[in-house]
């Protein structure tokens, strides 16, 4: 529980980013500044945090 899962921004269109969760795509609104290729955490459809790549990989590893 309480383990936030990062997604990867695959596309940005204005304020809306397409975020990929293991290939599953979700549209999320950007509340913070982030770019294509960034790992982010979304909450209720809003991107609230950027996650450094190294930390994202660590989280994915822990999930396996």
């Amino acid at each position: 529980m309480c383990m936030a899962v990062p997604g990867l921004i695959s596309e940005i269109n204005g304020e809306v980013a397409t975020v990929s969760y293991n290939g599953e795509l979700k549209k999320c609104k950007l509340l913070i500044k982030a770019d294509k290729g960034d790992y982010v955490i979304a909450q209720s459809g809003m991107i609230v945090k950027k996650v450094e790549k190294g930390e994202a990989y660590k989280i994915f590893e822990a999930m396996e």
Binding site: M1, A4, I32, E55
Partner: protein
């Protein structure tokens, strides 16, 4: 508000991530939301099964743990010390997960349509309005997962 709905205000954000990790189903999420909105009778056993990692320490606080005061004490005090002490269920969190999982107290410094700008943890950050729709600059709020949960 019933104690189950109050508990879910704090716990609900975690359910999204459990869903992403396929630990619970979309149907489970819907049921949690209906209980959160007090549209159906709360199913204590169901909530306790999903959020057992929060319920176990909550039970230690009081025998009468389905009580708003006990739940408040858990989320506003106990919860963060479990994270700090890497208690069971919280031992593998990375830095960002810890930050999001912690319950913070912050002060509103700006109000926008979709979000509040809040000073907490030494920074100014944007957070979702969540369950607090009418806060003004200067109000203190509790924050969980970058979302306003309740006013202080």
């Amino acid at each position: 508000m019933n104690p189950e709905a109050y508990f879910l205000r704090y716990a609900r954000p975690c359910a999204d991530f459990m869903h992403q990790r396929k630990e619970i189903t979309g149907k489970d999420l819907k049921k949690l939301d209906l209980m959160l909105e007090e549209k159906i009778k709360p199913d204590k056993a169901f909530i306790e099964r999903i959020f057992y990692k929060a319920i176990n320490p909550l039970k230690k606080l009081s025998d009468d743990y389905w009580n708003i005061n006990v739940i408040r004490k858990y989320f506003q005090k106990e919860h963060n010390s479990l994270i700090d002490n890497k208690a069971e269920g919280f031992e593998h969190l990375t830095g960002i997960q810890k930050e999001l999982c912690r319950v913070w107290e912050g002060v509103i410094i700006g109000v926008a349509k979709d979000y509040y700008e809040v000073n907490y943890n030494g920074n100014n950050s944007k957070i979702l309005k969540g369950f607090v729709k009418d806060a003004k600059i200067g109000d203190a709020v509790f924050i969980h997962y970058a979302m306003a949960i309740e006013k202080k």
